[in-house]
């Protein structure tokens, strides 16, 4: 189904508000919406709510044979197929541009920044490795799917526990969850995406745009950073041209946001660990 454009009134109102230094949901320009993380009963299931945007991530694992040229490398796969549940613009089997962009960015942020130690997933070199699969389900689309999906994916990976394995010679025994405590994955760092939207030729910059803001924006950019202030990915796919110092300004904002979000993720994980 095609999506209706926002009305002229909505657009004018939103832009007038931005020029007055306000956003229509009452946030400041550099504020994220309220982030809520809830965990399922089993390991690796996380539901993220970023305002009205809602994403579910589920991590699962299986043992497979590695590629012959990389005998000690495990696999990390992402599935970010969007269903019409999030928005009717998404159709089954026909990815939209937005969907492709989100899936590419998640891949870049997580896999290519080597957030997960894939060598640590090896059981028997050349024979058996773990394949970790992250299914990301978009339930409700109210803008900024990238940040929500990124938070969901990394939190799910941190929350996940894989079955313990003992290797004697070439024989590997996989213990069930009852036999032995499952082990966490080794996550090197926590990449977090922070998305910006630009209005008025880049004069106004906002963080965490809602769906309406995304419809009206003139350009966007996504920083992927970790808490050590390392840039993992920077994506600016089209939109208006930006001054270099504005981009640097954005990076400073992103650093603060990443620290806040990382702290919140860790607090949520600790609270959940205590409950178990």
């Amino acid at each position: 189904m095609k999506e209706l454009d926002s009305s002229t009134n909505e657009r004018e109102f939103l832009l007038a508000a931005l020029r007055d230094g306000a956003r229509i949901d009452g946030r400041n320009f550099y504020d994220f919406r309220t982030l809520r993380l809830s965990f399922g009963e089993d390991y690796g299931a996380v539901e993220v709510q970023l305002g009205n945007t809602r994403v579910l991530a589920k991590v699962s694992c299986e043992v497979i044979r590695p590629y012959a040229d990389k005998p000690t490398e495990g696999f990390l796969m992402f599935n970010t197929e969007m269903s019409p549940m999030a928005s009717t613009v998404f159709e089954i089997g026909r990815p939209t541009d937005e969907e492709v962009l989100v899936s590419r960015l998640i891949e870049k942020a997580m896999r290519r920044s080597r957030a997960l130690d894939t060598e640590g997933l090896c059981i028997v070199a050349g024979e058996k490795v773990w394949s970790i699969r992250v299914d990301i389900h978009f339930l409700d689309h109210d803008g900024n799917l990238i940040d929500a999906a990124c938070i969901a994916a990394i939190t799910a990976l941190l929350h996940f526990r894989r079955p313990d394995v003992t290797v004697v010679g070439e024989e590997a025994t996989i213990h069930t969850l009852e036999q032995r405590n499952p082990v966490p994955l080794s996550v090197h760092h926590i990449p977090i995406c922070v998305s910006f939207a630009f209005f008025d030729n880049g004069e106004r910059v906002i963080v965490d745009p809602t769906h309406l803001e995304e419809q009206i924006k003139e350009g966007d950019m996504t920083y992927t950073l970790n808490v050590h202030k390392e840039v993992c990915a920077l994506s600016k796919a089209g939109g208006i041209a930006m001054e270099l110092d504005q981009i640097l300004q954005c990076s400073k904002i992103a650093v603060i946001k990443v620290a806040e979000i990382t702290a919140q993720i860790q607090a949520a994980l600790e609270a959940d660990a205590k409950k178990r």
Binding site: M1, K58, P84, M85, T88, D135
Partner: protein, 251 residues
Amino acid sequence: MSRLDRTRTSPHQLRPFFSSQNLLNRSDGSAQFDFGGSSVLCSVTGPAEVKLRDEKLDKATLEVVVRPLVGLPGVKDKALERNIRETLEPLVLSGLHPRTLVQIVVQTMKDDGSIASTAFNAAIMALLDAGIPLSSILGSVTCTIDSQTNDILLDPTTEELAQAKSTHVFVFDNKASIHAEDKSSMDHDQASSTQESSSAAVLFSDSTGLFTEGEYLECAHVCFKAAQAVHGFIRTAVEKKLLKEYQQTSA
């Protein structure tokens, strides 16, 4: 006798239900339905624009999309899509909205057995939330026959499904349970089990495994009784929701 999930004492006990409606903002109606550790989220969009290819001149087109929790949709999910669509088609008064689309998306959130039944119940609650005209309400319950004890276990968990000799999914409409309720309130003795079963309107039944005719009828009877609890639950949920909406609008 205790069940494998250790929280239930009787083989005919269902896990605790939970449901909430109107969770999503971008769809016209949505509902989550839980049977214990199984949870399904369902969204409904409609009546909306329909693709020319799917357009029906005299009624609305029903489209069901089933999304598994892990991996890409497979044969099982496609089969469930078809089952849900064909069960709901006679319930939805689609003649009222010709040349439109009613799209139902079913997303598994947690899987601990009886997913098909959970999905059916979630779908009907989402349709109610979206305000799609319906002729009646369905209620679904799954049961298995245990391979060792030959007991009928209602609302099985994944563990119990693995030990099952046969699995049966039933969907009943609520006309029969209203009927049975009236009967039992009028005269307790007359509402015998055979009459109840004969007045039960089975909308959908799916069985796998080996079982006898007697076992099947026994399962149908047990599930019918349990489905009345589901109907009652859905009814209470809708009543509560309407009351809340009424209070909000009148305040």
